[in-house]
């Protein structure tokens, strides 16, 4: 989100919701149930179910980036080998200019930031003051 706010005047962003990574009926993550937001869904079987989860996500996190949902054919996911999460940058000529690794271990927003910073300049944020111990 921060990268989007920093560079939205220079680049377009598109979030693409693809098949769930850790639904209840597949490789379930215990940690998802512990989150305060209780992120527990079964793998969507219909486009309507997929859209409902995507809307839940954007509303819960007030996620305001441009958003699209992959169709049940998983066409976007398959074309970009995107599952479970992945980042790309497509340049002005429609060519892949950055291909990130598969998440979660090789999902690196800092590499996207570096690509944008190299072209449009670095956006610095004031460092947060350390929290005072009571």
């Amino acid at each position: 989100m921060q990268i989007y706010n920093d560079y939205k005047e220079h680049a377009d962003f598109l979030t693409i919701y693809i098949r769930e990574a850790h639904p209840l009926d597949e490789w379930r993550m215990k940690s998802n149930a512990k989150e305060k937001d209780n992120v527990c869904y079964v793998q969507p079987k219909t486009l309507e179910q997929r859209i409902a989860i995507a809307n839940d996500f954007t509303q819960r996190f007030k996620f305001n980036l441009p958003f699209g949902v992959d169709e049940m054919s998983n066409a976007a996911n398959d074309a970009y080998a995107a599952w479970p999460e992945r980042l790309y940058i497509v340049d002005e000529n429609g060519q892949i200019s950055y291909k990130g690794g598969n998440g979660p271990f090789k999902y690196a927003p800092k590499e996207v930031r570096a690509w944008l910073a190299k072209r449009y300049g670095e956006v610095k944020h004031p460092e947060k003051a350390p929290e005072k111990k009571s």
Binding site: I3, Y7, H10, A11, D12, F13, L14, T15, I16, Y17, I18, R19, E20, A21, H22, P23, E26, W27, R28, V39, Y41, I51, I53, A54, N55, D56, F57, T58, L65, F67, G68, V69, D70, E71, A75, A76, A79, Y80, A81, A82, W83, P84, E85, R86, L87, Y88, I89, V90, D91, E92, G94, Q95, I96, S97, Y98, K99, N102, G103, V112, R119
Partner: protein, 85 residues
């Protein structure tokens, strides 16, 4: 000879499964990872410099369809793929 080959292969399989269990969080997680995750995780053939594939997406309203390429305005396009879980 055949016996030792069998023992070696079996031992390797057990060690692999133990390793996967540690990585995934438990024996059940390792099984679910192999069954549900690995078939969907691919490195992909796209390379930097390749023409970006297009695909049709659905907007959050559930009715509007658009192409990935529709969302470019002659500027770089950052694509963020992911899910909720």
């Amino acid at each position: 000879m055949l016996l030792w080959t069998g023992i070696s292969v079996g031992g390797l399989l057990v060690l692999t499964y133990v390793g996967l269990s540690i990585m995934a969080g438990g024996p059940k997680d390792a099984f679910e990872m192999v069954r549900f995750a690995l078939p969907h995780m691919h490195l992909g053939k796209l390379k930097v410099g390749d023409s970006a594939p297009d695909a049709r997406l659905v907007a959050l309203d559930g009715g509007t369809r658009f192409q990935i390429r529709d969302r470019t305005q002659g500027r770089p396009l950052v694509l963020i793929f992911g899910s909720f879980t």
